[in-house]
């Protein structure tokens, strides 16, 4: 069956033709045939996030073929993608839903890593690079939201960039840099488009390569036993039980992807991406809301002074990114890490409450 991939003894046909020239066999073997702990449980969350990024690259490239990034044409081009271009509504709605699911599965991925303490030695750098991936993914959401140039897009960006302007000291400069001028205008749309389709994809692809390289080098964490550390006596434990990454793990992963693809098409069909009236810089609509994943910050800004509301989320993200630097205990089981787990639960409850109230009209 398919287990022959990468075997180096001269295979025939096209595979053999390439193999005699490039000798990729050993490389693919090293890539695919890694043993992973039998009790590793990733719930395929990182892989699903990866799959969703792939979907975004494909659907985003397609959308870019018809989209025009100017205030005069953006709205009409989105309208025509939705109504004129065959399957345009599907491609656009899948892009919309995959963006939301990517944030969701990314959050679950981080939560899994946290609960299993997979950020501890030796995986601190994987977590750190992950922090970069998280920021970039949020950046995708923020810049992509403006592109349809409808009322919601426009005013959410006015408010969003205004919030960035509230950062102490660098706020005003940041505001100007984001908007490309004093107001949200043609310059802003051009910038957001460039960042959304060029800068962020390249950054994400690069960091993702590092992230996966690190995971490959270190293997998956075992959620039951701490990693043995150099210079310390290894704790007593049964022999490591392993299973092959290929094909066992990959097969399950692909099944998960298939289910996610089905979910995407169903969501896109039942709840297609909508479009509000065209952006009007002179009329602010009532009840402008950001995407659901910004609602907590949005609500926080309603109840605390602006500086606090801006600084608190930034500080929180920084603390999360450097978490492995100060949480250096060896324990990995949640019940042996009561403080870490309590902090996480507290944070989740706070986010849930803020999001809930933020969603109220």
């Amino acid at each position: 069956m398919t287990t022959d991939v990468g075997r180096s003894e001269a295979p025939g046909g096209a595979v053999g033709w390439v193999e005699t020239r490039l000798h990729l066999g050993p490389f693919l073997n090293a890539l695919l045939h890694v043993p992973i702990p039998r009790n590793a449980k990733t719930f395929y969350l990182g892989g699903i996030t990866l799959f969703l990024f792939g979907i975004q690259v494909v659907t985003g490239t397609l959308l870019a073929l018809y989209y025009s990034p100017t205030p005069d044409a953006a709205y009409e081009s989105v309208l025509s993608i939705t109504s004129d271009v065959s399957f345009g509504w599907l491609i656009r709605s899948v892009h919309h839903w995959a963006a939301n699911l990517m944030i969701l599965f990314l959050a679950l991925h981080v939560l899994r890593i946290f609960v299993q303490a997979a950020y501890k030695y030796p995986r601190e750098l994987t977590w750190l690079v992950g922090g970069g991936l998280l920021l970039i993914t949020i950046g995708f959401g923020f810049t992509g939201y403006l592109l349809p140039w409808d009322q919601r897009a426009y005013w959410a960006t006015v408010v969003g960039t205004e919030i960035a302007g509230g950062v102490p000291v660098i706020g005003p400069a940041l505001l100007l840099l984001l908007r490309g001028g004093a107001e949200v205008s043609e310059a802003t749309l051009g910038r957001f488009f460039g960042i959304h389709v060029l800068v962020l994809p390249l950054l994400l692809a690069g960091l993702l390569g590092l992230h996966l390289l690190f995971v490959h080098q270190q293997g998956l964490a075992n959620p039951k036993y701490p990693e043995p550390r150099p210079g310390r006596p290894a704790p007593a434990r049964p022999p490591e039980r392993l299973k092959p990454f290929f094909p066992d793990y990959i097969l399950d992963e692909v099944i998960a992807w298939y289910a996610v693809l089905a979910a995407l098409v169903i969501l896109a069909s039942l709840f297609p991406a909508g479009l509000e009236p065209k952006a009007d810089p002179l009329v602010t609509p009532e009840h402008i809301k950001p995407e659901w994943y910004f609602l907590a910050v949005y609500q926080l800004l309603k109840v605390v002074p602006e500086t606090v509301g801006v600084v608190a989320p930034v500080a929180l993200v920084l603390v999360i990114v450097v978490l492995p630097l100060f949480d250096r205990g060896e324990e990995v089981l949640p019940r042996r890490r009561p403080i870490a787990i309590a902090c996480a639960v507290l944070l989740l409850v706070a986010l849930a409450v803020l999001t809930f109230y933020g969603a109220q009209v």
């Binding site: 004129d84 007593a236 022999p239 392993l242």
Partner: protein, 176 residues
Amino acid sequence: MSEGLPPVLEEGGDRTVAGVRDGLGAASGAGGTGGLDRRRFIRWLLGFSIVSSLAMIVTPIIGFLIPSRTATAGVGGRVLAGTLESLPVGSGAVVAVGAKPAVVVNTSGGVKAYSAICTHLGCIVAWDAALTMIVCPCHDGRFSPATGAVVSGPPPAPLPPLTAVVEGSDIYIVTG
């Protein structure tokens, strides 16, 4: 893994490809009576699933890439092409109607309008006041201002007529 006990690599076990493979091996030995044993059947099913999944993904992508015919036609309606003052009898002009050019000529027989896309190889024709004819600059195709018919040159067909309407002194081209 440094504690000395060797790691154990377990193939098979719960739901794995290895498990499926073993099961198939056992089954195909016993039940290979017809031409199609279970292993070949499953392999065929797998191939079919992969091909149909790919088709399902590629179809909307290809459909999306094919430009829609209606998208460029523009909306129907009226386009102001000029006035009787700007376009006196004996003169003509090329104007944009949506995304497409039209040539408008004020002839002694009334205001006429045609598509300005030459029927030969697609250059844009112009009004030649000296020749009093619609002339294509590319290969000197010439068209009659009164009917759009080919007078001379390589164009194989007359220019398609458009509807020109005069209201007061305004000249409109009506499409759609």
